[in-house]
């Protein structure tokens, strides 16, 4: 019976809101705008996360947040979303001036949110933060824009080249260190074991992250700061850079042509590539240490070893670092609690509990290959430049489609990407002049 009432209650209330709407518009009788009450010392803070439901991070974080509420007296309302949902919610909330107080985020969001003018400047809090020296330079750089700190790094992982040793041994292939060695293997592993030798992500969020690493190894960047503090892709201004960028697209095309990668890779996103590596349908792949979680369900994962990302013989080592900022929004009515929460998440205690193998602090790690061997690669870590990545990411995905699906000449693809990136920067008002 009670259940029926619960269903009927909103039904009964509908006529009320419909007829009462004229008054609602004036907002005369309503409580304050975000619906929270103000009886405690500070406002409750809205906190948006994007952890994987049911995974260890959630299990460790929830009691810590409870503890935080008890210790500080700050009220916290935490809600979980996926990153895609979270991103769109922040955009809508920014337009509706109804932002949460604190939120997890991806590095790709930083410049975009900063430009919306919704991020709180945490520089002063960073300077007084006891653990700041435990954060590596490249991770700190990912928290910075315009010389201001806008987030605390709650999670940071490098990408590494993971190899199924048994499959390579079966095919009699050594772990490659250079692009040339990868290409020389060609379809040897495929022929001997039935598993693709190498992996590449042709589309989706992870493909720009892969591309930016290969570009860095070849010595070029997707956008470089200009004298005016704005950014620009300089490949079309500089024939040497264009040639270097073209070698990257050439590498992608050669990977396909040599039979080293699955023929369908051009349209694979991380969902497919990670799955194929975990089930040993792919013998080696550049990915992150979250795959450690597959050891418990996939016996194929027992033979995995961790290596640096293969680089051009005349290039330099590089790997992508994904350092995720815990952002505080400047519309928060309780900045002190919001900032406290952001810092608490990055504290050694919380990091050890919730991100033991993916911590931004150099002092937090576990004694496994998933932590140690990955951390060893952090020194060569690179990140995206602090520009609005939305359109630029799409440009990078499109460039891979041109190279891998349309078989465009590598030079033409590089030249196209250079123009496309500058056009996107111009649209975003971030294009610098040389």
């Amino acid at each position: 019976m009670r259940k029926h009432l619960r269903v009927l209650a909103p039904l009964a209330a509908i006529p009320l809101i419909l007829t009462g709407c004229g008054d609602d518009g004036d907002g005369g009788t309503s409580t304050n705008s975000d619906g929270t009450d103000t009886q405690s010392t500070g406002e409750a803070i809205e906190f948006w996360t994007a952890w994987t439901d049911g995974a260890d991070t959630e299990k460790a974080s929830l009691p810590l947040i409870e503890q935080f509420i008890e210790d500080t007296g700050c009220e916290v309302n935490q809600t979980n979303f996926t990153y895609d949902m979270l991103h769109e919610k922040v955009i809508a909330a920014a337009a509706g001036q109804n932002l949460p107080d604190v939120a997890w985020g991806l590095p790709e969001y930083v410049a975009e949110f900063y430009k919306l003018g919704i991020l709180a400047d945490l520089s002063a809090d960073w300077d007084t933060w006891a653990d700041k020296d435990k954060v590596g330079e490249s991770i700190k750089a990912a928290m910075e824009i315009d010389g201001k700190i806008i987030g605390f790094p709650y999670e940071a992982t490098a990408r590494a080249y993971l190899v199924h040793d048994d499959l390579l041994a079966e095919a009699g292939v050594e772990v490659p260190a250079t692009w040339e060695e990868v290409l020389a293997v060609g379809s040897k592993v495929q022929d001997a074991t039935g598993a693709s030798f190498y992996g590449l992500t042709g589309t989706g969020v992870r493909s720009p992250q892969e591309l930016v690493v290969y570009l860095a190894q070849a010595g070029v960047e997707i956008a470089v700061a200009q004298g005016d503090g704005l950014y620009r892709n300089t490949w079309n201004d500089n024939p040497d850079e264009l040639a270097e960028a073209a070698t990257v697209f050439k590498f992608y095309q050669d990977l396909m042509a040599s039979g080293a990668v699955n023929a369908n890779s051009a349209t694979y996103g991380w969902e497919e590539t990670d799955e194929n590596f975990a089930t040993a349908l792919t013998a080696s792949f550049v990915t992150g240490n979250w795959l450690s979680e597959r050891e418990s369900t996939n016996p194929e994962m027992g033979d995995v070893s961790v290596h640096p990302v293969p680089q051009p013989a005349d290039g330099k080592p590089a790997t992508y670092i994904e350092a995720k900022p815990l952002m505080v929004f400047n519309t928060s009515k309780n900045l002190s609690c919001a900032t406290k929460l952001a810092i608490a998440f990055t504290s050694e205690e919380w990091q050890k509990a919730a991100f033991p193998a993916r911590s931004a602090l150099s002092t937090v790690s576990t004694d496994t290959k998933w932590s140690k061997d990955f951390s060893a690669l952090l020194a060569n870590g690179i990140t995206f430049p602090p520009i609005s990545m939305g359109e630029v990411s799409q440009n990078m995905i499109d460039s891979l489609a041109r190279a891998l699906q349309e078989n465009e000449a590598p030079e033409a693809t590089a030249a196209w990407l250079s123009d496309a990136v500058n056009k996107s920067l111009e649209n975003a008002g971030e294009l610098g002049t040389p």
């Binding site: 006529p15 004229g22 769109e88 955009i91 349209t267 194929n276 349908l281 359109e391 699906q405």
Partner: protein, 283 residues
């Protein structure tokens, strides 16, 4: 009650008015400072977009392919389910299940099932020898659009089935008996008795599905995000990218306005037919 009516009317009309205004204005989703009259600038932005022509074409293929397929399977299944046979209740129930599956769930599940490496569909196809190597249904540019249409048909045809079934049941049986006595063959009976009774419901259902399919965003987004390499990029996906990724509400509204004009033309065609039917009945 009248404030409620005005309120509801306002909520329905508001987006329409707003889209029409924004189409001719400089408008940014998150930056209110961007404003002013843009003339036809937004329309120029849209038509100059290198993906515009392709998107128009894909939207037409997607809409026509889906509606034709849904109509054929919907009508066929309704005729089958209308036969007096044992177990029809169960068969009807099972036929309607796809329509009860939320679009995002349908898209994700089919995407998983159709994967070339670990999807069940390719597994079965290879095992029974129908294909030699797995087909990359959603990744191959030639397969992607037909696959999306196929999945959309799967999800949408039951609504046709329900509507046709209702109309079929309403046909007086004496009409069939009379036709049978006249010695009319089954196809003949369909053409002279059944189909005329389905005209009215066909008209409505085809029209609303043209509109729904043309503006549908979720299905393609969840399966391919418009890929591979824009092979399934439709106008609603472009609108989404303009508005939620580039924040260019002006361009998104201009594109919407263009879609509005297109679908209004479809409406005019519909309206003429319906008026004829309406006048036959109301007199």
């Amino acid at each position: 009650m009248s404030p409620a009516w005005i309120f509801i009317g306002g909520l329905i009309a508001y987006p329409l008015v707003r889209v029409l205004i924004d189409a001719f204005s400089n408008a940014n989703l998150v930056n209110p400072a961007v404003s002013g009259f843009a003339g036809l600038g937004n329309f120029a932005t849209v038509t100059a977009d290198p993906h515009f022509g392709g998107a128009v074409q894909h939207t037409l293929v997607w809409t026509a392919g889906s509606v034709v397929g849904e109509y054929a399977i919907g009508l066929g299944s309704a005729l089958l389910l209308n036969r007096p046979m044992r177990g029809q209740g169960v068969f009807r129930m099972m036929t309607f299940i796809p329509w009860l599956v939320p679009i995002i769930v349908a898209g994700l599940t089919w995407g998983w099932m159709l994967n070339p490496d670990f999807g069940i569909v390719n597994r079965v196809l290879v095992d029974i020898g129908a294909v030699d190597t797995p087909i990359n249904f959603l990744g191959d540019p030639d397969w992607a659009m037909p696959t999306c249409i196929f999945v959309n048909i799967w999800r949408s045809f039951p609504y046709y089935t329900i509507s046709f079934l209702a109309a079929l049941q309403a046909i007086p049986t004496d009409l069939y008996e009379a036709a049978a006595i006249d010695g009319a063959s089954a196809p003949r009976r369909f053409a002279s008795v059944t189909f005329p009774h389905l005209r009215s419901v066909s008209l409505i259902i085809v029209f609303i599905h043209i509109v729904w399919t043309a503006v549908n965003f979720d299905f393609i987004w969840v399966m391919t995000e418009g890929g591979p390499n824009y092979a399934t990029n439709t106008l609603p996906i472009m609108i989404y990218r303009y508005s939620m990724k580039q924040f260019d509400v002006g361009a998104a509204s201009a594109l919407s306005t263009m879609m509005l004009i297109g679908t209004t033309l479809v409406f005019v065609v519909y309206y003429r037919y319906r008026r004829k039917l309406s006048e036959e009945i109301v007199g």
